[in-house]
């Protein structure tokens, strides 16, 4: 009984801790701290993975892999740096790896079931703000299919997560000039794909797919 009480009290205590302190406690073997970190960061990790991968179920699988990797690599985390940046690095890297393998599988099977599913979902557009956000995500998924994993990650971190180029460079483990190159090329490809897939978008908005 005392043990149960102690565990629940510990969970309440750790929920008030900032990310870095949770990470340090988790590194020391505090499972309540680790699970609090997982619960707290899950929506952000699923969101990044979802935007890179374009598939909710894949994003959930990758999120699970991300947190197992976080547990494995906690001893490498330097708490003088942002935990979020470190977490985003792991999340984007695993999502990009997953995306590459998914694209390989698609090429191998000559199938684009994923795109077909997205087109079906697009046709069922709704009018609420949440639905508009989801629709915007779907448009992005479709027009970004020609981007490399790094270009896609750089663009969505910049535009959808509002990260600056320095932080994106830390997350993607590359130089800021490389990030700027990724962003430049991502915009160039996106413009081309939007013009190809949504020629009337500019004048009529995102629902006017030709």
């Amino acid at each position: 009984m005392e043990l149960v009480y102690s565990e629940s009290r510990r969970r309440i205590e750790v929920e008030a801790l900032p990310d870095r302190e949770l990470a340090v406690a988790a590194r020391g073997g505090d499972s309540a701290a680790f699970e609090t970190l997982v619960t707290r960061k899950l929506p952000a990790v699923v969101s990044v993975a979802r935007r890179v991968l374009g598939d909710a179920e894949d994003a959930r699988d990758v999120a699970q892999m991300v947190f197992v990797r976080v547990w494995e690599e906690l001893h490498r985390y330097d708490e003088t740096y942002s935990f979020n940046t470190w977490l985003y690095r792991i999340a984007t890297n695993l999502a990009i790896d997953f995306l590459r393998s998914a694209r390989s599988r698609e090429r191998a099977h000559g199938a684009t079931l994923h795109l077909v599913r997205m087109r079906e979902e697009l046709s069922a557009s709704q009018t609420t703000r949440g639905a508009e956000d989801r629709e915007l995500n779907r448009v992005f998924e479709e027009v970004s299919s020609r981007l490399s994993g790094k270009q896609k990650a750089a663009f969505l971190l910049r535009e959808m997560e509002d990260k600056d180029t320095r932080e994106i460079a830390e997350i993607l483990n590359c130089g800021e000039s490389t990030v700027r190159n990724h962003l430049f090329n991502a915009r160039r490809i996106l413009r081309r794909e939007i013009a190809r897939l949504y020629p009337n978008l500019a004048s009529h908005g995102p629902r006017s797919k030709a």
Binding site: F34, E35, V38, T39, L42, P43, A44, V46, S47, R50, R51, A56, A59, R60, A63, Q64, M65, F67, V68, W71, E72, G130, D133, L136, N137, V139, F140, F155, L156, E159, M160, E161, D162, D164, T165, R180, L183, F184, R187, L190, R191, I194, A195, Y198, L201, A202, S203, G205, P206
Partner: protein
């Protein structure tokens, strides 16, 4: 600082070219989030500005959270098991290396020159070594050596009449192979 619609529209091109200061960039984004007319103008100017808005986090249902958390727990448990298994062979290799070192040292001592070898009555060094290996036995549990609570004791008994040294090797049970 606050931007009017013309101020914002004048910044579409530098926004897309990553040429705005972070403060200006923030104002453009905030303005676009609340101004439908400027959003349409932005997309007309550069369709990639369609995505210039903070995307909300995904809704993760309670059931999905629970499922993912269970998966993470299982994954962590698997990694812990892998680490334990990975630790085993390393310790065993260390034990083997230690054992090899003891044997080599023993052989080196027994086959090197010195008073003992000088007094050895017969044959080359290798002949003197072989009996030592054949006599390498786990000490009897009921003898003076043998199994203790945490260790196993081995003994190299050179045999009667040999002038080879007797070697006793005590191995921690957790390292024993």
């Amino acid at each position: 600082m606050s931007f009017s619609c013309p101020d914002v529209r004048a910044r579409f091109a530098p926004y897309a070219a990553e040429a705005l200061a972070s403060e200006e960039r923030r104002f453009v984004r905030e303005h676009l989030a609340g101004c439908e007319a400027c959003r349409e103008e932005a997309v007309a100017a550069d369709p990639t500005l369609l995505f210039a808005a903070n995307a909300p986090f995904e809704d993760v249902s309670a059931a999905d959270r629970a499922r993912i958390l269970e998966g993470v727990r299982a994954g962590v448990a698997l990694k812990q098991a892998e680490r334990r298994l990975a630790g085993g062979p390393v310790r065993r290799k260390a034990a083997v290396a230690a054992a090899a070192a003891v044997v080599v040292l023993t052989l080196a001592l027994s086959t090197s020159g010195g008073p003992r070898r000088a007094s050895a009555p017969t044959g080359p060094a290798s002949a003197a070594v072989t009996p030592a290996f054949t006599a390498f036995v786990k000490a009897s549990a009921d003898g003076p050596a043998g199994e203790t609570g945490t260790a196993t004791v081995y003994e190299i008994a050179p045999g009667a009449g040999s002038d080879e040294p007797r070697v006793v090797w005590i191995v921690d049970r957790s390292l024993d192979i």
